[in-house]
């Protein structure tokens, strides 16, 4: 490893490259600042006083700093039950989903598998066509999963998109690696488990990340399949808070008095922070596989 690094730095860098390097740093620094802004805005708003945020405007620093909002939000029991549901659903969904995505994608990456192409097309078809809300509901009802947390996990386990992405990554693995194992008499299951999966850490990390974020951000399954509020996922709780205004009524042309309860902007933004930060913390763990993938590829090669 050290050797390689030394080797790379030994290469002489031309003037253009140095200039480009500097440009790169400046470019990404500016870009990062722009990208962070909305999140920063939300965080600062959540730390501000209710009166100041009602006025709206730009938030670079909190106006009337306080932590009351967080204290208040955490006293709402539905945030905690939401966390519980979301964490359980995300972990189990990601684990099972990634596993099944891989077991589906690997056989389909074999070009000479009989009916492989047909199956791939059938998978692709589900990316574009779906039965819709009510047939989906009837299925879950038929499985006896209404108001059960499994209804939040199962329908989203494997997506056609992820299968196709994973399949195309598997196709880049050199055949020769698998051939040698086959000569040793290993079955495809062993090859898949012992050779293909370890070689595809970056891919698995990516798909796991996509799946996890998908589960984490999913609110509509709760809307469809869960009736008891204490079993809602966090995002459903959050969305209930966010859209709890009379806007929908107004757009439907209904006159209503203003006595609707409008959640203060601070509470809204605090809930966004609370719902987003945990999933953000996952990324650094996934990220290391992108960097590590290089090394392992090198060792094996």
């Amino acid at each position: 490893m050290k050797d390689m690094k030394n080797h790379l730095t030994k290469v002489r860098r031309g003037r253009g490259e140095v200039a480009y390097g500097v440009f790169n740093y400046i470019f990404f620094t500016v870009l990062c600042i722009i990208m962070v802004y909305p999140f920063w805005h939300v965080v600062m708003m959540s730390l501000s006083s209710v009166e100041a945020t009602a006025k709206g405007g730009i938030f670079l620093w909190p106006k009337g700093f306080n932590l009351d909002t967080y204290a208040q939000v955490f006293k709402d029991p539905s945030i905690w039950t939401g966390y519980l549901t979301t964490v359980l659903v995300t972990i189990s969904g990601t684990f099972l989903g990634t596993l099944f995505t891989a077991t589906t994608a690997y056989p389909l990456s074999k070009k000479d598998l009989p009916f492989g192409k047909t199956m791939l097309l059938l998978v692709l078809f589900t990316m574009l066509f779906s039965g819709g809300m009510i047939p989906g509901y009837l299925l879950i009802k038929g499985l006896g999963l209404i108001d059960n947390r499994w209804a939040l996990v199962l329908p989203g386990l494997v997506s056609a998109y992820n299968v196709i992405i994973m399949k195309s990554f598997f196709m880049t693995i050199p055949e020769s690696l698998e051939e040698s194992a086959k000569i040793d008499g290993a079955t495809e299951v062993t090859i898949f488990w012992k050779i293909v999966l370890p070689l595809s850490k970056a891919t698995i990390a990516t798909i796991a990340l996509f799946t996890a974020v998908g589960y984490w951000n999913d609110y509509f399954s709760s809307v469809l399949y869960i009736n008891t509020k204490s079993r809602w996922a966090l995002q459903a709780v959050l969305r209930y808070m966010l859209t709890n205004t009379n806007q929908a009524m107004q757009s439907a042309g209904v006159t209503v008095a203003s006595a609707t309860n409008v959640t203060a902007a601070t509470i809204k933004s605090a809930s966004v922070v609370i719902a987003t930060v945990p999933i953000l913390c996952v990324y650094p763990f996934v990220q290391k596989y992108f960097v590590k993938g290089v090394m392992i590829g090198g060792v094996k090669g």
């Binding site: 209710v50 009166e51 100041a52 009602a54 006025k55 709206g56 006293k75 709402d76 029991p77 539905s78 359980l88 659903v89 972990i91 189990s92 684990f95 099972l96 809300m133 009510i134 509901y137 009802k141 006896g144 999963l145 209404i146 108001d147 059960n148 947390r149 499994w150 609110y219 709760s222 809307v223 469809l224 009736n227 008891t228 509020k229 204490s230 079993r231 809602w232 969305r239 209930y240 808070m241 966010l242 859209t243 709890n244 205004t245 009379n246 806007q247 929908a248 009524m249 107004q250 439907a252 209904v254 006159t255 209503v256 008095a257 203003s258 006595a259 609707t260 309860n261 203060a264 902007a265």
Partner: protein, 558 residues
């Protein structure tokens, strides 16, 4: 490496196991629930048959049910969106004890997804709640009635009269619009707005600073707007104020001009004339007149520029920066959030409600609200005892019980000052309500009283409501209210396109991107989209409905 993979696997398995544990308990719950509603269903099935035999009328015994002395605990699942939704609140327990109930609160998932959830709950006989709540959804409602999912409560209304009497006291029309052609009532009005909810507000302190009088006519109002914009009413030496402001992308913000130009027929909808004919407001000359005046004001910069974008009304109000607005009467209550925010940063300011300015024809009008309820609730065929459910709800509607459900216990959550005024000690939107799980505002939109029982209103707010109500009757006489919107098929087919074209042009003119010179082309476009067909349909259908309405009102008053 291997050990870690193994550990990861194990961890994954464990969470899956945990989930299934929870899921099991969950499925156990829903299983028992399913079983129960299954038995309920049998009963309701029998009931349905009965209803069929009797030609849609639910047979009712003469004897009243004494809801306070029932030995059998009744299960009752209730759907609600706004208000308090945490389970097992103090108010819920109070209701459960009082009526021997076992209440399950089914919270809807917020405005944008509520319709989908209501659809799913209603189409699934195992999950259908005992009390359903909804708004709009006219087509679904007629399908529910058609499929026998809702119970006719008209016979119950004869026996248990609190809710009926309240609605008849505000306007007998409320129940007319809730009933169907045969007189059956499958939907109970959930919330009916005050007859008018908005009033003209002005910054008294700005008027005083500039030595101006309260405007009485539309012309005077306009000159005040110019003064507020150009003469530095807040005296900070900066050109940072506007005349008119308010809710963005809502034509009601321009109500003073809409009601004041011509005969006030330039409203953004279909209108009924005194001779029984119908017109489309946005193509009248009145509309052209007010558009001309408002667009000039906008171009001259006396209206906040973002009024043509979809801003948040509360945020605009809290922000301030303008001196006139047409907005909620209830902002007169000191407890209202946006006003508190505004005053916290503008302690010197003073908003006061003023009389509507008079325009061309000298009869100033406030914006009338609909007499028909904006939301309804109904008892479904899965309810084990619909009559008892209705009787309970009717008992909950008495002033005393309503105030308890809505505002809590006297001395603890609110204070009776003894002179007809009250002081709210624990606001229902506050944190204390959730923290202590009190449950104020439980079932908020499943029967709400806007009379003296709404003790949140101060004395002056109540008077203001009465004033704008009285001051909106001429305008209301033109309002088209539909008893059965689903029946207006032409409107339902062409209405969206006409409304879109209207909004595009009207807002375009206000913002200055479209010109009043193209008025004739615009009117032609609206006509080509079939506005006359809708008017013809209104003449037939709505004309017939109005005859029915007059008959009904004669009976109600006689």
């Amino acid at each position: 490496m291997k050990k870690r993979t193994l550990a990861l696997l194990l961890a994954g398995m464990m969470t899956v196991g945990m989930l299934s544990g929870c899921g099991d308990s969950g499925s156990g719950d829903s299983g028992s629930q399913g079983g129960q509603s299954g038995s309920q269903e049998e009963q309701s099935g029998a009931q349905e048959e009965q209803a069929g035999d009797e030609g849609g009328n639910t047979p009712v015994a003469d004897e009243k049910i004494d809801v306070l002395n029932q030995s059998e605990t009744m299960k009752m699942s209730v759907v609600c969106l706004q208000g308090y939704t945490q389970p097992d609140s103090q108010i819920q327990k109070w209701l459960e004890e009082r009526y021997n109930l076992d209440i399950e609160v089914l919270a809807l998932p917020g405005w944008s997804d509520a319709t989908a959830k209501i659809t799913l709950l209603m189409q699934d006989e195992t999950q259908r709640p005992d009390i359903i709540w909804w708004w709009n959804m006219e087509k679904d409602y007629s399908q529910w009635v058609d499929a026998g999912l809702l119970v006719d409560v008209a016979p119950y209304m004869e026996k248990y009269t609190n809710m009926r009497d309240y609605y008849n006291s505000i306007d007998p029309g409320v129940l007319f619009y809730a009933s169907d052609a045969s007189g059956a009532i499958y939907r109970i009005p959930g919330d009916v707005a005050e007859p008018a909810c908005e009033t003209l507000w002005i910054r008294q302190d700005w008027l005083d600073n500039l030595n101006l009088e309260v405007p009485k006519t539309l012309d005077e109002l306009e000159s005040v707007l110019y003064a507020f914009t150009n003469d530095d009413p807040d005296g900070d030496g900066q050109n940072n104020t506007y005349g008119l402001g308010g809710d963005g992308y809502d034509l009601r913000s321009f109500w003073p001009w809409i009601q004041g130009c011509g005969d006030g027929l330039g409203r953004d909808t279909f209108l009924k004339m005194d001779d029984g004919s119908y017109i489309y407001g946005p193509t009248t000359e009145d509309c052209k007149t007010w558009l001309g005046r408002v667009s000039k004001l906008y171009a001259d910069g006396v209206i906040t520029p973002n009024i043509i974008t979809d801003t948040d009304r509360d945020e605009e109000m809290a922000n301030g920066g303008f001196g006139v607005t047409y907005s909620w009467v209830s902002w007169n209550n000191p407890s209202v959030g946006p006003m508190q925010s505004f005053y916290s940063t503008h302690p010197e300011a003073k908003w006061v409600p003023i009389d509507m300015v008079s325009g061309d024809n000298g009869t100033p009008q406030d914006d009338p609200a609909s007499v028909a309820a904006w939301c309804y609730f109904g008892i479904t065929n899965t309810c084990s005892d619909p009559e008892r459910a209705y009787a309970i709800w009717d008992d909950m509607a008495t002033p005393e019980n309503y105030i308890h459900r809505r505002f809590g216990v006297e001395g603890e959550h609110y204070k009776d000052n003894g002179d007809g005024t009250y002081e709210i000690l624990v606001p229902s939107d506050g944190t204390q309500n959730t923290e202590q799980n009190i449950g104020l505002k439980l079932f908020q939109d499943l029967f709400a009283r806007k009379d003296f029982c709404n003790i949140e209103n101060t004395k002056s707010t109540s008077e203001l409501f009465e004033k704008v109500a009285a001051n909106s009757r001429i305008a209301y006489s033109h309002t088209v209210e539909k008893k059965n919107p689903e029946a207006y098929t032409v409107n339902n087919e062409k209405g969206t396109d006409i409304g879109d074209a209207m909004k595009e042009y009207v807002w375009g003119v206000i913002g200055g991107s479209k010109s009043l010179d193209d008025w004739d082309a615009y009117v032609q476009q609206i006509e080509s989209l079939g506005v006359q067909d809708i008017i013809d349909e209104l003449t037939t259908l709505h004309g017939a409905q109005m005859k029915e309405y007059e008959e009904y009102m004669k009976n109600a008053n006689g």
